[in-house]
Symmetry: C2
Subunit: 271 residues, 2 copies
DNA sequence: ACCAAACTGCGGCATAAGCAACAAAAATCA
DNA sequence: TGATTTTTGTTGCTTATGCCGCAGTTTGGT
């Protein structure tokens, strides 16, 4: 496998056809670097017909890895691979609403820590949309890229780069974050049960905990589909949060736990 | 919004209509929320013809605010490198060759620092193709994303995020890099004169210098077009480098300076 | 009120992309 | 080796988009 790839590289100008998986990997890679690629360009590059590229696009699109457009495709939420249980194209509307409400909480001149995750990326987009002048510290590359061109100043954390989440983790990340104290933090999670939010990736839980410890106001951004789920690692208690931004009001046991912990519940309505 | 004001001033006698300016502002805002918008959608939303939207796109495109695509446009603010874009279509072949040769220098298990820049991105791509298992430390987001999928482990530097180059700079970056000692570093530059390579962005020069100080083998990756150019800040002397990877053999004064400093010259031939 | 400049819309034509069905080539497996 | 499945290419057609020029309209100024 690896030998084949090396051969292809060595071949240089006379390029043999790439295998399907490799070609699609390349497409995703290209989309990480450029927001939009054209079918014709890729067809020429890979020496395949446009139809083949179109089929690749279809396949990647149904997997939720890219967003199709006329004549090309753009990366779905900038380099975030959906996990086993989460499809990027799913719940976009809900996440947009949550992100918009979360972004509206940030005021001029504040410092904010923003976690990695698809929901927090939406918050970053809305923050860029609003043009709030603030300072953002994040371990998420998409968040940094989204905010980088606008009014906010962006400080990126060090750490080991995880391509699956387009974010950095590790002891360097945690140590770096612990140097700062900020006004707010925006935290995402893969599950929210009565005993608290949880995360499937253990390394991320540590990052979220450090952010919580160094922020004044602590917001949890989560959509209703994750209610009741329990991830591998628990991030903390309900009492670790000041407010939770959701698309649907929690109920039953979850609502009780939130009320008991005194967490303010913000429901992002449609519109 | 600021751009609109600038445009008005630049236009002088001719003041743009409020309608047009507002529409274009909306387009830019929309692109902050979604990576790609379609002409037909915008035309319908604004109740104007597609031609009008097309003209808006043209105007915004020539201002470098968006990236055009067939049927729509994507934000130049999302992972595209405005600074690199001018040269992106130029000298690609040369840079690919340089990158390939530079990547072939890296051996299994080594640790490598990779600078930001269009040429070093190419080196990262080739390194990803080769599948060399190594550890890479970089301040460039595209380099991290390119290598993140493959065999290499990637450590990203902290720092202030600069969208123009998709890289981080600043004291945090420098301090972080100084903790490491690596086998090699790959450095790019915006100019190479007899007295040494130089960089147009002052912040980057400091990062490059730190990388050079903490690496065993030090490689300069640069294409022939930059020969003789002098940037704002000098990165260092010729003697700071062990080898230079180029697409065309330097000549005259430059060659003498390289020979005198004992720099090994690797010419990436066409393949 | 008139003019000039700019903005917008419409039509025609060229090009690119989407789609579907079938054929060809390649990979897989018994 | 031969058959089956997968992948890719080709053809023909439809639709969408891009581009150019012209004309109608609006806007701002004299």
């Amino acid at each position: 496998m690896v030998d084949d790839m090396v051969k292809q590289i060595e071949a240089g100008s006379a390029r043999p056809r790439l295998k399907k998986a490799e070609r699609r990997r390349q497409i995703l890679l290209e989309l990480k670097l450029r927001p939009h690629v054209r079918i014709s360009d890729l067809a020429e590059r890979f020496n395949v017909s446009t139809e083949t590229v179109r089929r690749d696009f279809d396949a990647l699109s149904t997997d939720g890895l890219i967003d199709r457009a006329h004549g090309g495709a753009s990366a779905a939420t900038q380099g975030h691979y959906p996990g086993l249980d989460e499809r990027a194209n799913d719940r976009v509307r809900e996440r947009e609403r949550i992100g918009r409400m979360a972004a509206s909480l940030v005021r001029e001149g504040e410092t904010v820590m923003i976690d990695s995750g698809s929901t927090t990326i939406q918050a970053a987009r809305s923050l860029a949309y609003l043009g709030t002048r603030c300072t953002v510290i994040t371990n998420s590359i998409p968040v940094a890229m989204t905010l980088g061109h606008g009014a906010p100043q962006v400080i990126l954390c060090p750490g080991e780069y995880l391509s699956a989440e387009s974010a950095v983790v590790g002891t360097d990340t945690v140590e770096f974050l612990s140097r700062f104290n900020v006004d707010r933090c925006m935290i995402g999670a893969s599950g929210l049960a009565a005993e608290g939010p949880s995360e499937t990736v253990r390394g991320f839980a540590a990052v979220k905990r450090i952010m919580l410890r160094h922020a004044g106001k602590r917001h949890l951004l989560i959509d209703a589909r994750k209610f009741g789920r329990k991830g591998l690692a628990r991030i903390g208690d309900m009492t670790d949060f000041d407010s939770i931004v959701v698309d649907t009001r929690p109920q039953g046991e979850l609502l009780e736990a939130l009320a008991e912990a005194g967490v303010h519940i913000s429901v992002a309505e449609q519109g």
